[in-house]
């Protein structure tokens, strides 16, 4: 009953209409095209109207999501019935408007069809019949991809963190993760993952590749065993629970401090060019601020050159050299030296298999579409023919065809 209501609705013919599909595709292509160029426009301040309709983030704005919803509805409506149509054609039930190859001699017609790749016994001859399902596969793949992408977004969880060599952290501790991106259905907490950075080389040179970051780290989900691996920007590290770790781009210098009591600490300095800054919070007092300036840029092939470190606090500003002490909290700390910190990211994306399935179906559909599939039904001395393309061309070739001449009628 419910289906008959949907079927009777004027919405269905609209969604199934080629015009609606075309309008949706043109809209999305135009929108995506504009979106591709928007980064240039972002150099200027975003106007109020663009901000109001979410164009600052064009691919999560309502305008884009409405287009995606229309595409989903249109694809859904168009896919319905495509498979059974392909099955009917495969069986030889050809649609109205199929090409008719008029009789010359029956033997010639069979020979012509054979020469053009149609195979089989009996009245139905087929050529590359897998191509009949190309359109259905492509549309079904689009639907799977859209649903998969939605699911992937809903369950996606990712974020960034920093470590200096010798440092360890647990991702689910408060304040450890920055730039967290979490879908609606993703767990509220980051994974209970312990990570230790053992070594970091910001300019590791692998033969054939430009110098790049490389880390040696160990990680484990709480309750499971440690896993050590070298990590670079080529590939992530798979861990238990579907969590992957990635070497990220950001890197910088860190001050290694030895407090009078407690373990070593590091202050990560951030900045661009040759000036970097960092802060160390102090309970009940202004944070200690550090500023480091280097002779050359951080990733200069010749190294940073000499680095000067300044300490700013309520008591004033002073230069800090390795081995010197300064007041920190209720006691003292010593600057041991400098190290690199490195950025990492984690991701867990349980929806990826659905996205991959969508990709696979789309590619399969595209590949099948390229095949020049066809079905011919012999009867009454003539043949009715359905070809996914080139039906008229085949008819024209048949009219010029002479047995024994390969390709006669071409050109």
């Amino acid at each position: 009953m419910r289906w008959s209501i949907v079927r009777g609705s004027p919405l269905v013919p609209l969604l199934r209409s080629p015009g609606f599909a075309r309008a949706t595709l043109v809209y999305l292509a135009s929108y995506a095209g504009v979106g591709a160029w928007l980064p240039r426009a972002r150099l200027a301040p975003v106007p109020g109207w663009a901000h109001a309709i979410g164009l600052e983030a064009p691919f999560s704005s309502p305008l884009f999501l409405v287009g995606c919803a229309a595409l989903f509805a249109s694809t859904c409506a168009c896919t319905w019935g495509k498979a059974s149509r392909a099955r009917r054609i495969f069986r030889g039930e050809l649609p109205p408007g199929s090409t008719v190859l008029r009789a010359r001699t029956a033997a010639d017609l069979e020979a012509f069809l054979r020469q053009r790749g149609f195979r089989g016994q009996g009245p139905v001859r087929r050529r590359l019949a897998a191509g009949l399902w190309g359109s259905w596969l492509l549309h079904a793949g689009l639907l799977v991809l859209m649903v998969g992408a939605l699911g992937q977004q809903a369950f996606y969880d990712g974020g960034s963190f920093e470590l200096a060599p010798g440092e360890a952290l647990r991702l689910d501790e408060p304040g450890r993760i920055s730039a967290r991106s979490r879908g609606l259905l993703a767990p509220a907490q980051p994974p209970a993952l312990e990570v230790v950075l053992r070594e970091f080389d910001p300019r590791h040179h692998e033969p054939g590749y430009a110098p790049d970051r490389r880390s040696l780290l160990a990680a484990r989900l709480v309750g499971s065993g440690w896993r050590s691996a070298a990590l670079d920007r080529a590939q992530g590290l798979d861990l238990e629970g579907g969590v992957r770790l990635y070497q990220a781009n950001p890197t910088g210098l860190a001050l290694v401090l030895s407090p009078a009591e407690g373990p070593l600490r590091s202050v990560h300095l951030h900045g661009t060019g040759r000036i970097m800054e960092g802060a160390l919070p102090r309970p009940g007092a202004e944070p200690l601020r550090f500023e480091a300036s280097s002779e050359r840029g951080l990733l200069d092939p010749d190294g940073t050159g000499a680095i000067r470190v300044l300490l700013r606090s309520g008591e004033g500003t002073r230069e800090l050299r390795p081995g010197e002490t300064f007041a920190m909290g209720g006691g003292w700390a010593t600057l041991l030296g400098m190290a690199w910190w490195s950025g990492f990211s984690y991701a867990r994306s349980p929806g990826m298999p659905a996205v991959l399935a969508g990709f696979g179906l789309i590619l399969l559909g595209c590949a099948a579409l390229v095949l020049p599939a066809g079905v011919a039904r012999l009867g009454g001395g003539e043949a009715r023919l359905f070809a996914v393309r080139g039906g008229e061309q085949l008819r024209s070739e048949w009219e010029r065809w002479a047995p024994g001449r390969r390709g006669s009628g071409d050109a």
């Binding site: 095209g33 994306s349 990826m352 393309r389 061309q393």
Partner: protein, 275 residues
């Protein structure tokens, strides 16, 4: 040093052979001598040998495939365009005459490519992926098949206007069909290119899609191709309208592969045509 000289000589030999092939193709068309065009086709095939040699020597020298500088990207693109045309013209002899458009196109690409012939750089470590080879190979096949489809569309428009012209080429209806087939191939190759790129990004960064301008432009191009194919299949558009739309598809292709990387800040820019 010796390899560098051989590499340079091979490249310029390929340029010279393609240039001669272009002249023969034009002469064949202008004087309606199909034999000249046939020689031009043979020369283009012969030009692939020194061209392949130049590309292989560069690959051996820099230790990576042709995907890092303007020279590497465009020179390999020209190679794929010519090779694809030669293969297509074996499968569909009617496409032989399209050489008059394809070979000059390859020559122009080589002319642009040579501006950074001397530049040799290492690739970022993120290029260490099997998906990259698939991504780049299908990008080249995508562009090559779009160029061939457009060559058919141009020939179609010309023959429709003056049926007596371009006698080496098949009837306009056959050109129209070839343009459609090649556009479908281009659509498939673009799809594989996008998917391989997504899988590569997922392997390296944990995100399969980041709305990078180049990614977005590829998606827009894929959708534009889908619109054109819908018009053909569902609305039975063919003839001049479809020929013009095929040329529009080529414009989308060129914009995605070259213009976006050259103009908009994108992660693809540094290792494509900008240097």
């Amino acid at each position: 040093m010796r390899d560098a000289v051989i590499q340079s000589c091979s490249f310029w030999a390929a340029v010279a052979v393609y240039a001669l092939s272009t002249v023969l193709h034009f002469a064949g068309l202008s004087f309606e001598r199909p034999r000249l065009a046939g020689w031009g086709r043979g020369l283009a095939a012969a030009g692939l040998a020194p061209h392949a040699c130049a590309l292989a020597l560069r690959w051996a020298e820099v230790g990576h495939g042709p995907w890092n500088t303007r020279y590497e990207v465009l020179s390999s693109q020209a190679f794929v365009v010519v090779a694809l045309w030669l293969v297509a013209s074996v499968l569909a002899p009617g496409l032989r005459g399209a050489g008059a458009l394809v070979v000059p196109c390859a020559l122009l690409l080589l002319g642009w490519a040579v501006s950074t012939f001397g530049l040799k750089t290492e690739v970022p470590i993120v290029f260490k992926s099997c998906w990259l080879a698939l991504h780049v190979a299908f990008a080249k096949l995508f562009a090559g098949s779009a160029v061939l489809a457009s060559a058919c569309a141009v020939a179609y428009l010309r023959k429709r206007r003056r049926p007596a012209s371009l006698r080496a080429l098949p009837r306009p209806e056959v050109l129209d069909l070839h343009a459609h087939q090649l556009l479908l191939l281009s659509f498939l190759c673009l799809g594989v290119m996008i998917v391989a790129g997504s899988l590569w990004a997922n392997q390296a960064w944990g995100r399969y899609w980041a709305w990078d301008p180049m990614e977005t432009s590829s998606l827009a191009t894929w959708i534009a191709f889908a619109v054109i194919l819908h018009l053909r299949v569902l609305h039975r558009w063919s003839g001049p309208r479809m020929a013009w739309l095929t040329l529009l598809a080529l414009a989308f292709t060129a914009t995605t592969l070259y213009a976006v990387a050259a103009v908009v800040p994108t992660i693809h820019a540094s290792y494509m045509v900008t240097q």
